[in-house]
Symmetry: C2
Subunit: 299 residues, 2 copies
């Protein structure tokens, strides 16, 4: 069985010091699936508007990404506008147009309810919980969230994260969720809150992976130029969950390798705008960069 991802499909308008792109393909489910597909079959549950080009759906299908859960709703596709400046560690959202995403209630098609690997990308924790209840005994559940939900839906989020295996958060989210400024203490506290495993993503500074049995740190893959950081987190989750679903064993060794594959996937994503680099990416390039990463970090 493959991986099921519930998240967003979007048109992004993004400006960075290296360029400006309007209404390009984006969204958490897109970045996740375009990374995870190197390891396994992936199915998307999301919604788009009538303006969503058929060519994009064909592009996903051509990459073993299932779209039976991609609903086409009356109206326009979700749109997000953002600008990155300086060290580009944070997106400054200029506009969010939910469009068809407003009021969207994800329904998992019957055939996908038996999915064993499930990724709940960053949406309302109430919706994430709905989806989780529709899937029958998934083997492994990954979950992303953001500061907005930590502030606005703390009870729903607290309830949800008790049911997930692996929580993906960035450093500021980890601090906010745990009320601990030290990241090691934050990771410990998050594990006390429920998830079995937490990965704290520090952007260009790498990651911390933490569970009762695993403590792991890794730097990010060093690039001479980051053109667009959009989608790095979702690509990271895609590479991580993709590798885990293929390994079929969740242990210290597979978790460490998984987040390195996540790191590599994210490093490709940020090399170009939108999903352009992921669309050109070939599996041997992933393996070559993994090898380079190993040699960069071995001592």
């Amino acid at each position: 069985m493959g991986i099921l991802v519930i998240g967003s499909v979007a048109f992004d308008s993004v400006e960075t010091p290296y360029g400006r792109h309007k209404d390009v393909l984006g969204g958490s489910a897109i970045y996740f699936s375009l990374s995870a597909r190197f390891f396994n079959v992936v199915d998307i549950v999301a919604c788009v508007g009538e303006d969503f080009p058929k060519e994009f759906i064909a592009m996903l299908k051509a990459r073993r990404i299932g779209t039976s859960g991609l609903e086409v709703l009356k109206g326009k596709t979700f749109r997000w506008e953002a600008r990155y400046s300086g060290d580009m560690n944070q997106a400054h959202t200029l506009a969010t147009h939910l469009n068809v995403f407003k009021g969207f209630i994800p329904k998992i098609p019957a055939l996908l309810r038996g999915s064993q690997y499930l990724f709940l990308a960053n949406i309302d924790p109430g919706l994430q919980d709905d989806v989780l209840r529709q899937v029958k005994r998934p083997e492994f559940v990954g979950c992303d969230t953001m500061n907005h939900w930590i502030t606005e839906k703390p009870r729903e989020l607290d309830k949800l994260i008790k049911k997930v295996d692996m929580l993906f958060v960035n450093d500021s989210e980890a601090r906010q969720l745990s009320s601990e400024s030290n990241l090691l203490k934050a990771a410990k506290e998050i594990i006390r809150m429920g998830p079995k495993i937490v990965v704290i993503k520090k952007g260009e500074h790498g990651l911390i992976l933490y569970s009762r049995n695993v403590r792991f740190m890794a730097p990010a893959y060093l690039l001479e130029r980051v053109n667009d950081p959009t989608g790095a987190g979702d690509s990271f989750a895609g590479g991580t969950m993709g590798f885990l679903s293929r390994a079929r064993r969740i242990n210290a060794a597979s978790l460490r390798r998984a987040v390195i594959y996540g790191t590599i996937a994210a490093s490709f994503t940020v090399e170009d705008f939108s999903v352009n680099r992921l669309l050109r990416l070939k599996r041997p390039e992933i393996e070559a960069r993994l090898k380079a990463f190993r040699s960069l970090t071995r001592f």
Copy 2:
């Protein structure tokens, strides 16, 4: 032959979110030598005032740290006051009293002019150059600097770094020195400027080691609490140069290991105020933490 370090000996008054300590032992030469001494004999060239306690000199001697180059000058010892707040990534200097350091001209005792490993801690690049010219054909020269000298003495610094083997800078100094915001580009540019090897220290985010043949990244050792970051950079240099002087071979493998020893030394330093943790430190603790670091980063 051992290591020679030229730098400062100071009384620091430091405030962090975890405490406040007045007129405690500090200075680059002190932190450097108290770390490097786990690997080799170290000699200090520096100056202190008449107020410098004899017990401190006895304490250094008891640790195989040579003080024949430590001049006692008329007046008071160099004093530095600083406060760290928030994530403690930067010291906010409240006061600097140069005292005897004002007008200090370092003289290397004849017996130490044959030192093969030399560390030029962060002082005026003109003085660093003076010292370098007093040492006969050192095998390996390490050098630290800071934003102040990059701004105020760019020509002296440019001239100096062409003669050093390894330059130690933090991320903001690397960006300023190279005029490159991307750290990989900054490292490349610094190598073009002269030093054979550059290590960019990113504090809690680890390091980048770069030369024509070596590209290496490592995270910092994750601690639950940093009590006082003072001396982390000099302890890092001490562990690094200490290991290299003991290995007697400068190659990719020894450089990688050296900066990991530097990382470990710095991780102990910041656990307590002043040099308190370094004074209690035992060699087996270093090896145990190196082992822990390996297991934290292996994949």
